[in-house]
Symmetry: C2
Subunit: 107 residues, 2 copies
């Protein structure tokens, strides 16, 4: 399996969890910290940290610790693989519709 596919796998898996999607949505409004992310989610900061691991692993979030505070940022580029996948499926589908159209014209 090509590396690109494995990455797509990880991104979809990451965003398949509603809590992680909430984190991404929050971070797209601006950077935040682990505990500020945890507060509205009503889960422990340990749980948030675990989600951040997953999001960082697949390139949707970048993280940087300064002093005792870890600042988390949304990584726009991480969305590219998602868009690519969508585009791929759509074009495969349309390709096939075109072929069907050609067949009909032949008659």
């Amino acid at each position: 399996m090509p590396a690109a596919l494995r990455k797509t796998d990880r991104v979809f898996n990451a965003l398949g969890d509603p809590t992680r999607r909430a984190i991404v949505e929050k971070l797209s409004r601006g950077p935040s910290t682990v505990s500020r992310l945890a507060a509205p989610l009503d889960i422990t900061i340990t749980a948030v940290r675990q989600h951040l691991d997953v999001l960082e692993e697949c390139g949707l979030v970048r993280t940087e610790k300064v002093g005792r505070v870890r600042t988390c940022r949304f990584e726009t580029k991480g969305l590219a693989v998602l868009e690519q996948w969508i585009e791929d499926q759509r074009s495969l589908w349309e390709e096939r519709l075109d072929q069907l159209g050609d067949l009909l014209e032949e008659d």
Copy 2:
């Protein structure tokens, strides 16, 4: 929670599973049946049927039974909510970058 969000939830959840993504990828190449989908996946047709339920529920797949055969089709329109979500996050992020830029210009 608005209906649009719940639908986005369902689509992300659906595509978060690698088997369901494989089904969608297969169907984007053209319609198929339950058992033809099951064969390469190496799971029972019962399992495939359950995945199809999820995919149908969130609008990514349309299904139609004729005689004893159920034909499954990829529903391109189902991808729209995904694209919308991506677009939303990106624009929120850029909006914020613009605001930061404005602040810097003020000095």
